[in-house]
């Protein structure tokens, strides 16, 4: 009944309820097929002789018509969210954030040292790590500094929040490794240290190790790529990306955090009251519309508003979409299975009438946390907060169909 009311309401503003989409989809597809013109000079006409195409290849490449690229700024590259479909990011388009470049590590000489407050300080080879029970899980990885808008209205999803990507990661549970070395009761934290030139370090609470932390050696079915931590990295689902230390060389268990540079002067959150939040690991719920978005131009009529939503605290409970700048909201359709701490696809069919519109999305996670708007976030955090910014953002659709980033919503 509730849903019927919503459907009625939304139909007035040109949006379709979930039920209408599910029951009407088949008819819509049929109509579009019937509407196709007979193929002509497009190469699909079987009237002319056709020679064979390329032979099989050892390693595939993308179609020459498609060139999705990461956007580069120094030690950072951003995932082209607007070019992706589904929820998995191709490994070669996964965002990068390095602190001193990508090291070259020979898997034959790779070692992981686990020591400190453990019963048996141990060195593991890569082969040792692979002999443990292998676990695979899908989750997002997001840098906590994931809000860009230097392009103003000409900001793409990639620049706006392309420091998030999703993969299926495979490796050994850290709890398995810790059981192997024997964690002493006084161990409350562990230091994770990378083998990059900056030997980057973060202190992580031991609870995370015993919960869902992994040491990953594979991503999307293949062994890790160098820029994602080859041959092995820490993976902390739901936590800010920086803490999932790449090129992992050492784990040092201790009673206290180490207070490294990356958990004191960086990756902390100055607040309006003069305090600074520390060890703020979890990424709060967020969403972004990836289509339509800048630099697309759209035509009046039906289109699907699409995007991704995610939360470091668990599953996405719902995503709401507004096509009138936040005055009214409708529930988007979530693409299942909805996984915890994972990018979740959402969509909503929208009939654009050609009048200027502002489209926005808002994620709500299973804890009841709703993605805030910029004013609410600034209100509680103050102006100097640099990380964990997850505001509702939107796109302006002009009368000419040009889609621009609604930069004014972030000022």
């Amino acid at each position: 009944m509730k849903e019927d009311k919503r459907a009625q309401k939304t139909s007035q503003v040109g949006r379709v309820s979930r039920r209408a989409v599910l029951t009407g989809a088949a008819g819509a597809v049929g109509a579009s097929v019937l509407g196709l013109k007979t193929p002509t000079a497009s190469g699909q006409d079987r009237g002319a002789a056709v020679s064979p195409g390329l032979l099989a290849s050892e390693v595939g490449t993308r179609s020459s018509f498609e060139q999705p690229k990461r956007a580069l700024t120094g030690l950072v590259s951003r995932t082209p969210l607007q070019d992706l479909h589904g929820t998995i990011t191709p490994a070669d388009l996964h965002f990068e954030r390095h602190h001193s470049g990508v090291p070259t590590i020979d898997p034959r000489t790779y070692r992981l040292l686990v020591h400190g407050l453990v019963e048996r300080p141990t060195v593991f080879t890569l082969n040792d790590l692979k002999r443990f029970p292998a676990i695979s899980r899908i989750c997002f990885l997001e840098c906590s500094g994931n809000l860009g808008r230097q392009g103003g209205e000409k900001t793409r999803p990639q620049e706006l929040c392309g420091l998030t990507s999703q993969s299926e990661w495979t490796g050994v549970m850290l709890s398995t490794l810790f059981r192997e070395v024997g964690v002493r009761p006084d161990a409350k934290w562990f230091l994770a240290e990378g083998q990059d030139a900056a030997v980057m370090t973060r202190s992580i609470p031991i609870e995370k190790a015993l919960d869902d932390a992994m040491i990953a050696y594979a991503q999307n079915g293949e062994l890790l790529r160098p820029e994602q931590g080859y041959p092995a990295r820490l993976l902390l689902p739901g936590f800010e990306g920086n803490s999932s230390v790449k090129w992992l060389r050492r784990l040092d268990l201790a009673a206290q955090p180490f207070m490294t540079r990356e958990e004191t002067s960086k990756y902390t959150d100055p607040l309006a009251d003069g305090t600074a939040r520390q060890f703020s690991f979890v990424m709060d719920a967020r969403s972004v519309i990836t289509s339509p978005s800048y630099p697309q131009t759209v035509e009046p009529g039906w289109m699907e508003i699409r995007g991704v939503a995610w939360s470091g605290r668990g599953k996405i409970q719902r995503v709401e979409i507004s096509t009138d700048g936040g005055k009214t909201w409708s529930r988007a359709v979530l693409q299942g299975p909805v996984l915890p701490k994972a990018h979740t696809r959402f969509g909503l069919m929208w009939k654009w009438d050609g009048a200027p519109a502002v489209i926005m999305s808002k994620a709500v996670d299973e804890t009841g946390y709703a993605q805030p708007d910029w004013a609410a976030l600034q209100g509680v955090r103050g102006r100097r907060t640099r990380y964990h910014q997850n505001p509702i953002t939107g796109w302006k659709v002009g009368a000419d169909g040009q889609v621009l980033f609604a930069i004014e919503r972030l000022s």
Partner: protein, 197 residues
């Protein structure tokens, strides 16, 4: 009949036996990896903790640090730590002004952003030593000797007005340095739920 039953029983037991032998329950430990020797740990462990654990023998002064800074750091961080292609390092809180917090929010209209620096934001002096030793200078990380790292740490602390110009920094004095921002840091209080934090 009886012998047939016996054969069947033996067959069943054999089958069960086979199932049990292939599905072993995992042991508490798999016995993988090699014991790490004390020498290996000493060679690999370069972390310094706030209480000074991990600090090596050696010492340094601001004056010694100034020379090393000019040669190895100034090109990126500025002659006086004012920043350049790399972070601003020096900047005690100006009188009546902080890089963030109530004062900053109050003057938001006309205030120029005050940079976050060692002097106004780093909570532990040991972090300076740890970070310089592991990561600086970026084109030759790990090349500085312990005395050089102590000296650079002393130079930056003095430049920020936290220690005296003639202070000597070593494994004993460094952890005792009280940083201006020490008490600003609080644990993360976000925990999901309806409230925006």
């Amino acid at each position: 009949m009886k012998s047939r039953m016996r054969t069947l029983t033996i067959l069943m037991l054999t089958t069960i036996g086979t199932v049990l032998s292939t599905a072993q329950s995992p042991p508490p430990r798999f016995g993988l990896g090699q014991p790490a020797s004390a020498d290996l740990i000493a060679a690999w462990d370069i972390a310094v903790m706030p209480d000074g654990k991990g600090l090596p023998p050696g010492k340094g002064t601001p004056a010694e640090g100034a020379t090393i800074y000019a040669a190895q750091c100034a090109s990126c961080h500025g002659a006086n730590g004012e920043g350049g292609v790399a972070d601003v390092l020096v900047g005690p809180e100006p009188k009546g002004f902080a890089p963030f917090g109530p004062q900053y929010e109050k003057f938001r209209g006309d205030a120029k952003d005050v940079p976050f620096t060692i002097g106004n934001y780093w909570p532990y002096a040991t972090t300076i030593f740890d970070y310089i030793r592991r990561a600086m200078p970026p084109n030759a990380a790990g090349s500085l000797k312990a005395d050089q790292v102590y000296s650079l740490t002393a130079f930056l602390l003095a430049k920020n007005g936290i220690i005296a110009e003639n202070a000597v920094i070593d494994a004993k004095t460094l952890p005792a340095v009280m940083m201006p921002a020490r008490n600003r840091f609080v644990p993360d209080d976000r925990a999901g739920g309806a409230k925006v934090k």
